[in-house]
Amino acid sequence: MGRNRTTVKLLCAPRRRALVLGAATAAGVLLLTSCGTDDNSGLPGAVDFTSDAVECGPEGTALASGSTAQANAMEVWVNMYQTNCENGQVNYKATGSGAGIQEFLQGTTAFGGSDSLLSEAELDQSRRVCRDGGEAIHLPMVAGPVAIGYNVPGVDDLVLDAETLAKIFDSQINRWDDPAIEALNPDAELPDMAITPFSRSDGSGTTDNFTSYLHAAAPDAWPYTPDKVWRGKGGQSADGSSGLVGMVQQNAGAISYFELSYAHQNAIDTVSLDTGADEPVAATVENASQGVSAGRVVGEGDDLAMELDYTTSDAGAYPIVLIAYEIICDRGNNPATLDLTRAFLGFTASEEGQEVVTDIHYAAIPEEVITQVRERVQEMS
């Protein structure tokens, strides 16, 4: 397909620049590690950065920061934008959603990336940053399927439902040959082996999303309030998605959750979900887009905050999807970076922008929502 491999090297370069600028040692460590995990999580060298669809904005540099979940997509977008628009620089630092929101609310970034919605207090705060009586709005830009990876020798097509998953991750089911699992997998040869569920030890939007699913789809088996912090009982934990991947690879009997790209990159088997649809739903990019379609926009006015339907039983709708938002002001963005931001986000929301990230295991935002995103981006002032 004429796509070149050497581009991978480019991908870390903006980060390295950010590293030199970054004053805090802690932030430096985070950047270093996130750069490392990105390589691991699979930007295949298969992305061609040249494009005809990019409409360049003015010269300048736009700073942005936030969610690590969309960092890989951002890297592709930024590289594509900068390859085609020589004078426009976008610098996205994957500092985590919390830090991204903080920095946006302090007015230091042109837009913030977040996996979670702003709280009421943060929305109030945004009215101070956004001029002309504007306030922060959420733009769903890309979706990341959260896969449930496992390591059970001899079993490569596991099907589980929400209740069984909840019980496994809460240590109520702790053998692989448990009758509940056997009932869902009549053809599989399940070994007599202990289950070790692994969760994130650091606060994470992925955890928030996964537990939201468990809580919504199996409220009896998962009574804990969804949160970025893991609340299940028992099991073990590890730092970051790459840490969880390592644990699943190392330990037979392990099960854990991470972004789909991590599973693909490391050839880890993923669970298909019995959602009540006719067929179990596999964790794929297409099914995740279907899953987002089952949700609806709940934001008021210009806001496009979404609510997923975790209990959906639509055919081929994979419900555990993390929606990554960009946060901007509807009115009163910083005039210095306004046009550049509009051009860049216009590209990320464009057909090509949405298409290109499916190569690296992100799901596109469904048509009916992304058209609204495009409108908001054009209207932003």
Partner: protein, 327 residues
């Protein structure tokens, strides 16, 4: 205090300044004294600034905290109201460091004695170099080695411990991956070994030859020489060296975060996963922390700061006491 200073006092203490030859103060003297005074004051100012910063930010979080800062077994600092406590972190930090000290100090003293008194000169040189090299390995490398190599290797040992000592509860083991405080303690022991070894080695080397020869002349064996002269002479040095090591163990971050399977609970068993340390928890929670979450992490950092001060103070006290006895 004895009237005559013997040369057995630790280095630095025995040198009386020579009387000044000229009374005129030269500009060089003045500049140098100014510079060194400045360096000393800078250190104090930095320490004070850290303490003030930690205290101010910590006070915000502790005031808002819905749980008990000292006894709550949970870390939910981003919730409103925040609910967190340091009990688990304090326990994990102290226990893993104590394990590290128990394992590392005897071995380090052994290596130091071997290098300074037993090994042929050439072997001693090489060994000393290798030990110093160990100290230069970055902690994340230790972490990766620990997670990928040490953890799988520990399963056998832990099963054996469980078989014979499992009844105590402290050594109970459930055959899950060995990512526990014990493994962290063992890894920390390896990490602090070179620091303690280098410092004690230098101290042991400075044992006055006259003392050793006197002991030999009395018919003492080599072990008796070491017991009668080298160890008493080096005791305060060994304590200072251990404190340096303990400081590193208390504050170690990446290696712990890579090896441990953190969970906010206190396990009676040292071999089962769970627990956490101050530094590890800060590293894990920082990324997704909101402003309150950060202040809560800073509050836990303040406790670590105080813990380190306390430990160092205690060590100073022990050394001061020892000095009176040894001369």
């Amino acid at each position: 205090m004895p009237a005559i200073q013997t040369d057995s006092s630790p280095p630095g203490g025995g040198l009386e300044p020579e009387p000044r030859r000229t009374s005129a103060v030269r500009p060089g003297d003045r500049i140098f004294s100014g510079l060194s005074k400045g360096a000393g004051i800078t250190l104090l100012v930095i320490m004070a600034a850290i303490a003030v910063f930690l205290s101010i930010r910590a006070a915000v979080a502790i005031e808002a905290n819905d749980g008990n800062f000292l006894t709550t077994f949970e870390w939910d600092a981003n919730a409103s109201p925040p609910y967190f406590g340091i009990a688990v972190l304090l326990f994990g930090t102290v226990v893993s460091s104590v394990i590290a000290m128990v394992l590392a100090v005897p071995v380090a003293v052994g290596i130091a004695l071997f290098i300074s008194h037993y090994a042929p000169r050439r072997v001693a040189g090489i060994l000393g170099y290798v030990v110093d090299l160990l100290a230069a390995v970055p902690s994340i490398i230790y972490g990766l080695w620990g997670a990928l190599f040490l953890v799988p290797q520990m399963t056998g040992l832990y099963s054996w411990l469980d078989q014979f000592l499992g009844w105590t509860g402290v050594f109970a083991y459930d055959n899950t991956p060995a990512r526990s405080l014990m493994t962290v303690g063992i890894l920390l022991a390896i990490m602090i070994l070179p620091i303690i070894t280098s410092v004690t080695r230098e101290i042991f080397k400075q044992t006055p030859k006259a003392h050793e020869e006197a002991a030999l002349a009395l018919g003492a064996t080599r072990w008796e020489v070491i017991r009668m002269t080298v160890l008493p002479f080096g005791r305060s040095g060994v304590i200072s060296a251990s404190m340096l090591g303990l400081g590193r163990a208390l504050g170690e971050t990446m290696a712990v975060a890579t090896v441990l399977s953190p969970a906010f609970l206190i396990n009676i068993s040292l071999l089962e996963s769970g627990g956490g340390t101050f530094a590890q928890n800060i590293a894990s929670q920082f990324k997704e922390a909101g402003s309150m979450g950060r202040d809560a992490l800073i509050a836990s950092g303040l406790v670590l700061f105080l813990l380190t001060l306390l430990v160092n103070g205690a060590a100073r006290l022990i050394i001061a006491r020892r000095k009176e006895f040894t001369s």
